[in-house]
Amino acid sequence: MPNVTIIALIVLLPLAAFLLLGLFGKSLFNKGGGIVATMMMLVSAVLALYTAYQYFFVYGSTGGVYHQCIPWQITWLQFYNGLSINIGFLVDPISVIMLVVVTFISLMVHIYSLGYMKGEGRLPVYFAFLGLFTFSMLGLVLASNIFQTYIFWELVGVSSFLLIGFYYNRPSAVAACKKAFIVTRFADLGFLIGILIFSFCANTLDFSTLIQRLTATGSNEVKTAATYSFMGISALSWGAVLVFIGGAGKSAMFPLHIWLPDAMEGPTPVSALIHAATMVVAGVYLVARLFPVFAIATPGVLQIVGWVGAVSAIIAAVIACTQTDIKRVLAYSTMSQIGFMMFALGVSNYGGEQGLGYTAAMFHLFTHAMFKALLFLGAGSVIHYVHNNDMAAMGGLRKQLPITHITFLIACLAIAGIPPFAGFFSKEEILLAAYQHNTAIYYIALVTSGLTAFYMFRLYFSIFWGKPYENHSAHRHGEGGFVMVLPLVLLAVGAAAAGFIPFGHFVTSDGSRLESSVHVQFSLLPVGLALAGIFIATWMYKTDSDRPARVAASIGGLYKAAYHKFYIDEVYVFITKKILFNGIGKLAAWFDRSIVDGLVNLTGTCTVAISRGIKKMQSGKVQGYALYFLAGVIVLATLFIYVWK
């Protein structure tokens, strides 16, 4: 069995860092706060690796099948016998993988931040927020109860909000953090209702019991659930759709993706940690966690998951080709890659060979975390050097930033899916799964992976090649020293080598072993497309020319639409401002002002009128008052004597 103390330490060390730096940061750790937090994170990451080793190689499997264990669980809120909210740890392949990803990326970002954020005021607060985020994310992945997931889900949202708005004196950052919070919160409403529907159907909030009850054909719960429906769709499907809406909001799936590009207002290491590698895959993780329910009980909803993922992937890839802010390109690329994971889940079935998509999604999640964190941290180094986010201001940086250049190139090759880098293996598995189950999605994915290679190398050539960038500012600080270079190198090793992990042996939909092999003939087409994308990017961006402008002009309308992100933000503004604020809002305001306020005012007016009428009785004449008194006495006396006896 897993060691409870170790798992508890993994989760609680970041929390301790948060509390320590949050409470005493200013007074005690003004200088060394970052070091303290990083040390705690290091211990947590080492323990996570140890746990993963123990799980996968020592106690996790019986007879070649990985099973879930719940080393610790307490009942937190008991509603009635059978339905309770528990707090516990759930250890299974995907949660262990996520433990490693979250702690490792978080450690890298902590180390990197020591250099990147140097000289920043409020440094202890920054590290405290990082700790809070890591704690929430770890709590989310280890949750044994769907409600515990929800609690940590919201905590993750809060810490993301705090970190996006870290530069709170910048209006754009304030707007971005509000946008991120409101959009994801709106999606979380769906998640909450989905939880309620699931718990109503299954009569439990516990993951393993819930999955067991909802996937067993002919169980009482399934029979009961089948009797409820709304608008011709069964209650279970509604629950699954609503839970997926929550996941789609957090994972920036179309059309709830609008917050992610704006979230790049946060410090760049934060973007690497939260908005590229860990938090945004929470939606994928949620669908994976409930995968048996999606695959067995509601296969129709899984189709929706697949299509939403595919549409998000291609839309984001097209937009990424036109953006000029390097962090925004990376943000759209993140959205596109998460789209890959989503549709990989969508095209998967439960169990055995048919569950390839599930394995592929988790594999891609793992490799993507490596190379996307690397891309963001590399972009951070570039921004650190250039003091600008705009591609147009950069160029020829390969001489000034050699290590960043090499690691960035590795990450680009990995995300483009060029063998033998990590992205190749996971993407091939996804494409294979799509090819086997849904040909339409497969072709969308092919186009998208070509586009991915194109926009990544557009970014690469714009930054590191072309007209040399002239550093106008007086101070030159190179690559930011050891602490900023070390994470790049470590992540580059991960991005280059992670693909060789035989992921199918460890993570499958039903826990049993899945052999995956590289099919050379199948791989030719996607790799060829990726190479084509790279060559087009080389032709257009390696040297400065008017080729990009000419290409943009030749596809005019599409380029303009993509540059304006397909006007989705404008659609949102139209819906909120014109329809919600002007239509429903004005109506509600009118109702409030005239009906609600009117009733209150009417009471007041009546009171005033009546008191005007009777105030003459207050004449100031003592004998008048005495007369009223006498009249009262006489009336009472009459009543007592003759009426009531």
Partner: protein, 104 residues
Amino acid sequence: MMQPGLYHILFISTALFFMGVYGFFTRRNLVTMLMSLELVLNSVNLNFIAFNKYVWPGKMDGLFFALFIIAIAAAEAAVAIAIIINLYRNHKSIDVNDAEDLKY
């Protein structure tokens, strides 16, 4: 000579009470109103004494009530006259119709 009975005394007491009330409502002079009030109080006193003597001759309750009312009436008269004097200082008048500053 006929001994006065309970009814005689109650008759006098009632007459005294209504004389007091009449005076209280018709006089405008505050001192006179106060005197009328004393009549009302004393009619109550008479009632107490009479009932005590004719209904429960062995008890003393009525007697003590009467004594208390006399004491309170004295205190009340002192307070009332003090108020009247202050009123006179402010208004140069003790006509009750002039003292209507506290109307609405």
